[in-house]
């Protein structure tokens, strides 16, 4: 019996060792691919950073009105952001090549699912970028117009508008990424509905006097302006 146990043990050990031995080249290939991709990523990132610094990419982005890109970028430098994005893309490609060396069928399935998901990721990035730009534009418009209308709560209004647009954009982005599903939709509906209801109640009940005082002050100001001797033209 002990001979049979020994035989079983020796056979299983041989099987495992040979499986590990068969995996070893794949693992080495994966590590090598990762290493090479890291080196290539560093080189590409360095060249790209020099190129973008040479064309003053950071200043151009400011001039194009994409101030938010500065805030999202590491060390407030869009050049660094682009360089790092490209570097990580190269590393991911290296990783995918390494995985392919390890197990071709697994890679194919992964790659297929990745490319199916990619349009949703791109769409959500676009939604976020556009949403952020729209939020900043609208909040600035509201701020300037509210100040010109002498509303003391101009900044509050502007912040509120910005957050509402951003929440909408984030919800749309999550919808594209199929994250959260119904919970996100429900939460958004409750949040927006709550905000609108709160505003309606505030105007109707709670802040009635504040709003009516503000409107009265504004009406008096308009009446005073018409009696003003100032003529701008």
């Amino acid at each position: 019996m002990w001979e049979q146990v020994q035989q079983a043990l020796s056979q299983s050990t041989t099987r495992v060792v040979s499986q590990v031995a068969s995996l070893l080249p794949g693992i080495v290939a994966l590590l090598l691919a990762l290493l090479i991709s890291i080196v290539v990523a560093l080189a590409v990132s360095g060249v790209l950073r020099r190129l973008l610094t040479g064309v003053q990419f950071d200043e151009r982005v400011s001039r194009w009105g994409l101030q938010s890109l500065h805030e999202w970028s590491p060390r407030k430098s869009p050049t660094l952001l682009v360089a790092r994005l490209v570097a990580w893309t190269v590393i991911l490609i290296g990783f995918a090549i390494g995985i392919a060396a390890l197990d071709l069928s697994l890679t194919s399935a992964l790659v297929l699912r990745f490319f199916e998901y990619l349009p949703h990721v791109l769409a959500s990035i676009v939604v976020l970028v556009v949403g952020n730009a729209v939020a900043r534009f609208m909040s600035r418009s509201v701020l300037i117009d509210a100040v010109n209308m002498n509303l003391q709560y101009a900044r509050l209004l502007s912040t509120g508008v910005r957050w509402m647009v951003m929440v909408l954009a984030v919800t749309m982005a999550l919808e594209h990424l199929a994250i959260g599903g119904g919970i996100i939709r429900l939460a958004f509906g409750i949040l927006f509905g709550g905000i609108v209801l709160a505003l309606a109640l505030a105007v109707g009940l709670g802040s009635k006097e504040l709003v009516s005082r503000s409107l009265e002050r504004e009406a008096n100001r308009v009446a005073e302006e018409s009696e003003e001797p100032v003529r701008h033209l």
């Binding site: 600035r140 418009s141 701020l143 300037i144 100040v147 010109n148 100001r221 005073e224 001797p229 100032v230």
Partner: protein, 415 residues
């Protein structure tokens, strides 16, 4: 096209009046009977000429397209349509389109001079037409700009920005560089229309904004005419910030187009003036500076982020200090005001932020200037006001090197 507003029968009549010497355009629609009144005023003015010129009166037809019969061969009356909205008040766009239509008509007919009247017809006298039309017809002047008798609280956008800016940029001391009542010779007319066509892609906007710069660039003769008190027609400006945006945008665009010209100009000279200067009317009451200071302080508190994209840190600091002043101490230094206007002009050019936002955010600063001016000139008479405004204009001229250096090297300073 500048002649799209003219109905076909009128265009045919234009062919019959070729060879007229003068086009007189009346922008404000006026009430019923305004055409007859306007024709009578123009006819009476033309009779004072040694040899009365052949004239064409262009006036709004209230959408009827009707043409008056010509009783007097020396004065033909042509209708044109204002903006399709046809509201009793002028919209900015209809106002600008009317100038372009009148100028285009003048070129098409082949006149020697073109006179535009934008004030209320009630204040237009034969002397107005005479003083505007005679210099280009008989004295070889190319541009006649108006001088109005105004009380100290009138025309503040012009007094605080447009006039001193035009003086500093183009070296001509003109009280009202943007008219609106003015006369141009055929030489200036051609230049304005050619420049306007070329500049369409740059959102040319208001052709009258380019009158001074075009005249200076072509080395044409400019003079002023005393018009007395002026009544303005109601304008459909939504609010002050819209008004400022509508007035400043064409001015800043014109600055951009003529940068090579104004950067070479040094100092300023007065231009000849015709007509008797009339005393300014009395103002109706004091200005409530407190309300204006409140608006300025609200802007200073909430718009620092926006202004920070346009103004240098020193200006922002001074504005913050000014916002903390009491009403008695509230005085905006001329240097601060001038550098602020120049910085906004530059930001308009480089599009630091959306242009509409930029111009609207200027409103609290403008109100701050009015407050400072009102407090300073509360008891000032006409001479004190003129001296004060002349000091402001000199500050614009003194600050011009700052504008030139920032215009040439905008990247050297990035707030």
């Amino acid at each position: 096209m500048e002649l799209d507003a003219i109905p076909q029968p009128a265009l045919e009549q234009i062919q019959r009046v070729q060879g007229a010497d003068l086009v007189v355009g009346i922008i404000h629609p006026g009430g019923n009977g305004s055409r007859a009144n306007a024709a009578a005023v123009v006819r009476e003015a033309l009779q004072t000429f040694p040899q009365p010129p052949r004239a064409v009166l262009v006036i709004d037809d209230h959408g009827t397209g009707e043409i008056d019969t010509i009783e007097d061969p020396s004065l033909a009356v042509l209708p044109y349509r204002l903006s399709a909205a046809a509201s009793p008040a002028l919209t900015p766009q209809s106002f600008f389109d009317a100038y372009q239509t009148i100028f285009g008509l003048g070129r098409k007919i082949g006149v020697r001079a073109c006179t535009v009247i934008a004030s209320e017809l009630q204040c237009v006298t034969p002397a107005w037409i005479d003083r505007l039309a005679r210099p280009p017809l008989e004295m070889q002047f190319d541009l006649v700009a108006p001088r109005y008798a105004r009380h100290k609280w009138e025309g503040l956008i012009n007094r605080s920005i447009l006039a001193p800016l035009s003086r500093a940029l183009y070296g001509k001391r003109i009280q009202n560089p943007l008219g609106p009542d003015l006369s141009v010779s055929v030489r200036l007319l051609q230049s304005i229309l050619d420049d306007h066509s070329a500049a369409r892609g740059m959102n040319a906007g208001m052709p009258v904004a380019a009158v001074i710069s075009t005249a200076v660039r072509a080395n044409l003769q400019i003079c002023e005419a005393e018009m007395g008190a002026r009544m303005q027609p109601p304008a459909d400006w939504m609010n002050l910030s819209s008004l400022l945006a509508q007035m400043l945008s064409p001015t800043f665009l014109d600055m951009e187009r003529n940068a090579a010209l104004w950067q070479r100009v040094r100092g300023s000279q007065p231009v000849p003036a015709f007509g008797r200067m009339e005393p300014a009317p009395e103002e109706s009451g004091p200005v409530d500076a407190g309300r204006l200071i409140d608006s300025f302080q609200l802007g200073a508190k909430n718009l620092q982020d926006v202004w920070g994209l346009v103004l240098p840190p020193t200006s922002l600091l001074e504005i913050r200090k000014l916002a903390r002043q009491t009403a008695a101490q509230f005085r905006m230094p001329d240097e601060l005001w001038v550098s602020t206007v120049y910085d906004f002009a530059l930001a308009h050019r480089v599009r630091t932020i959306n242009r509409e936002h930029l111009l609207r955010s200027f409103t609290p600063l403008y109100l701050g200037w009015i407050a400072s001016y009102a407090l300073e000139m509360e008891r000032g008479g006409p001479f004190e006001v003129d001296a004060r405004l002349d000091r402001l204009a000199r500050a614009y001229e003194a600050g011009k090197p700052y504008l030139v250096s920032r215009w040439r090297w905008p990247d050297r300073f990035n707030p």
